[in-house]
């Protein structure tokens, strides 16, 4: 069997922390800045890329992901510069996936050509909703019409295009969501991310929620029904969930996210970016300073890293399990045992199997569709002593 670090692939995540407007539900490391000196940022990215290249050279890169924030605000030549530097340092797989998260505004779409020239071959668009009233309530600054137009441009420029929707929104009914989802599927090519709205603390929605002012959120039972309906509807068009919130035709899965879920190595570059990398056979967690200015300054002084820490095997095993069970294919039980030094507690496993939450076959353990809906509870049970 291959060494653990060779499993799951090797990717690189670049974080762009700026947006045109902050969405009220969003707890990502994203900020509105009046002016961004993009050349300064390019230099900083390059400096970090160089630093990591010295740490983990020679590995074959399977994916690069520009996430945010809103990476479709980056100048195409910045994206170009970053990708050139990456290709300069690491050998890349023939099938290298280069994804960029794009907001579906017309200005963003104007840059798509440039991104494609730079080497981006996959775009993930944050469309979020297919009606304007809901887009406004989500605080989005684009319309459905703009989104559809941007989407068409994207399809003409990139091999692969996916988009995101947020559902279980305020005042959304089950039927309304079913209709919207069917519309989405009629647009989608081969990949869709469907996220249930999560109220995060520290966001405007979180604040309103705490004060009891965020009304009309679907009850737990309705959102459970919405989730089930989502699985059914997507299933009928061959877009089953390969992960909790991600749907694709076979072969069209996001390779980059698969690195996370399969617990491969990835480097995190940019403010607040996290990484997992193997140094001298030891797996390490990295985290960069999250404040954009602080990160820039630190990088300019030589290093944007806030944390570099060895991860204990036991914690690696938990992370592997936690991420792997999100996938419908589940986890390789031997790899789990190798990491944790012991098998999953057989009593817990058979208990979950009896409840119809877990399945194991031919060396793989995965959650059932019902198990996936209560994955947090399944994990708690599995990780209990």
């Amino acid at each position: 069997m291959a060494e653990d670090w060779e499993q799951g692939g090797f990717g690189l995540y670049i974080h762009w922390p700026f947006c045109q407007a902050k969405c009220p539900y969003c707890d990502f490391n994203s900020h509105v800045a009046r002016e961004v000196d993009q050349r300064r940022w390019l230099k900083a990215y390059i400096s970090e890329i160089d630093r990591y290249a010295a740490l983990v050279p020679h590995r074959v890169l399977t994916s690069v992901f520009f996430g945010g924030g809103t990476p479709s605000l980056m100048n195409p030549d910045v994206v170009h510069g970053v990708l050139d530097r990456i290709r300069h340092h690491w050998p890349v797989a023939n099938s290298l996936e280069v994804t960029l998260e794009a907001n579906p505004g017309s200005v963003d779409a104007g840059r798509f050509r440039g991104y494609a020239d730079a080497g981006v071959n996959r775009v993930s668009m944050g469309i979020q909703a297919l009606n304007n009233a809901d887009l406004r309530r989500l605080g989005r600054i684009h319309t459905v019409e703009e989104a559809r137009a941007a989407f068409d441009i994207a399809r003409s420029q990139f091999e692969r295009v996916s988009f995101d929707l947020i559902y279980a929104r305020q005042d959304q009914t089950l039927d309304a969501w079913k209709d919207e989802l069917k519309q989405a599927l009629s647009m989608a090519i081969d990949h869709l991310s469907l996220y249930q709205l999560t109220i995060e603390s520290g966001t405007a929605f979180g604040d309103r929620y705490d004060r009891g002012l965020l009304r009309g959120l679907p009850e737990d039972d309705i959102s459970a029904d919405m989730y089930i309906a989502t699985q059914d509807i997507c299933g009928t068009v061959g877009m089953e969930a390969y992960e909790v919130s991600n749907h694709a035709k076979p072969g069209a899965e996001s390779r980059h996210n698969n690195i996370y879920w399969r617990y491969g190595d990835y480097l995190g570059i940019g403010p607040g970016a996290h990484g997992r990398m193997t140094l001298n056979g030891q797996r390490h967690a990295t985290e960069a300073w999250s404040n954009p200015n602080k990160w820039l300054e630190r990088v300019e002084q030589g290093n944007g890293e806030k944390l570099l820490q060895r991860i204990e095997l036991r914690d690696q095993a938990s992370e592997f399990l936690m991420m792997g069970l999100r996938l419908s294919s589940g986890i390789d039980i031997h790899r789990y045992e190798a990491l944790s030094g012991s098998p999953l507690n057989p009593t817990n496993v058979s208990y979950l199997e009896d409840l119809g939450m877990l399945q194991s076959r031919s060396g793989m353990v995965c959650v059932t569709p019902s198990g996936r809906m209560v994955l947090n509870a399944v994990l708690k049970e599995l990780l209990a002593d």
């Binding site: 990502f28 995190g268 607040g272 809906m373 947090n376």
Partner: protein, 599 residues
Amino acid sequence: MTDLAHIRNFSIVAHIDHGKSTLADRLIQSTNTVAERDMKAQLLDSMDIERERGITIKANTVRIDYTADNGEAYVLNLIDTPGHVDFAYEVSRSMRAVEGSLLVVDSTQGVEAQTLANVYQAIDAGHEIVPVLNKIDLPAADCDRVAEQIEDVIGIDASNAIRVSAKTGIGIHETLEAIVKHLPAPKGDATAPLKAMLVDSWYDSYLGVVVLVRIMDGTLKKGDRIKMMQNSSIHLIDRIGVFRPAMQPVESLGPGEIGFITAQIKQVRDTRVGDTITHEKKGTDTPLPGFKPSQPVVFCGLFPVDSAEFEDLRDAIEKLALNDASFSYEMETSAALGFGFRCGFLGLLHLEVIRDRIEREYNIELITTAPSVIYHVYMRDGSMIELHNPADMPDLSIVDHLEEPRIKATILVPDEYLGDVLKLCQDRRGIQEDLTYAGARAMVVYDLPLNEVVFDFYDRLKSVTKGYASFDYQLMGYRQDHLVKMQILVNDEPVDALSTMVHRDRADLRGRAMVEKLKDLIPRHMFKIPIQAAIGGKVIARETLAALRKDVTAKCYGGDMSRKRKLLDKQKAGKKKMRQFGKVDIPQEAFISALKMDD
């Protein structure tokens, strides 16, 4: 030794928070008993828990020197007492050691339930009573009305009541003069055989057991060999002194004086409050009447959340019991909770205080099970057992009948809340005994079963009267009633720690309330969970906790899995705080919260 005519002994008694301890502060301060720099508010409330909650739990004695306006020097022994009903025993025994009482009444509140209870005890003890109207600095003070109330409701003369602000010091001098003038000097014969009352005793980690004594006759000196009349044990006195309030050695203690002795006594249990102490040789043959020991009335199980801490818990409980004779314990095993202790308390506040101290001073997290009173179970064969724990209820086939303790409750309440109070008492199976008015306040007396009161009666009373009612009770004895054991089944398994004794007529209501509460308290699981209340196998209430339908993190982005792992680790730790019953996790607070009735 002080001559009798120049001694005054008194207790300060009042309803909770009427200002006893603050008044004691002023008396101590104005007589320069304590250096100014050592003074602090409620100086005598020295336990952490007393300071934190702002209440007095233990009675405290202080000796004060006072030169009166007549130019003569007096020795005053004051005892500050607790106001809360759970600690009424502290008040009653303190009163046995003194000849008079300062009856403090908050002039913004008036006469309350413990005011009455204390007055009756003071009269019983033959005390001279000096009424003190406190808190006159507050705008809401209404001294005339309160004085009138004292005369009407209590029937003592309040024309010479002293108007005081224990906060600002107004009336303190007058109070000291009144003590000297109106309270009687103690009686006694210094040459008679020694007769000393054992008022209190506690454990001190440096000195061992310290005994508080009041000398009635004779003289006590260091080096004397004394006899405890109760068990004839002999001890050699190695220290003798008085409290100012720090311990100060003296040569001897004579009649009328109050002080402490130590005599190499190992355990508080070797001393018995109310006992008579005399000399080994030439002692007296006639002991003092003594007083009834305090009896725990509320019982509950205390279990460590982490079962590995059982030995630590034993240690903590033993240490606390050393100092608190009214707290009892014995080991208990529960199918669900493992090893713990069944503990007896004077009341719910006492329970809370002990539980708090174990959790904080000994750092042990506890699961507290349903509080219960002592039932008398009469068997078919004519024998009787005391039932402290519903889990031990014998099989019904061998039981003839049960008796439960009843109390006489006195409640004072502004008349606009009277209806709510009557309803509450009626709902709790009360029988009205008396209803009278004093101004705009009603005084109701109810005969109530203790088990309906022990748990949340006081909380309910406070909430239905917005805090305006006051409450006091006395145990009255046992009476037969139709009592049954109610079991709670979670996922079809009985949870012994949730069993309670209830009246058959109240069982359906209580059962329904409990299963509804539990349905909210137990988190959803991956399967549905029936929660039932049953009496002898017959289900009387049932709820079903629906299965957890969705609990999954929708987005998992940017590779930040450390945060999620830490969250999961935290939840795992949270799971440890629950107890598993079969496959069901029950949070520790559920055992108590499930019992609270919202009526």
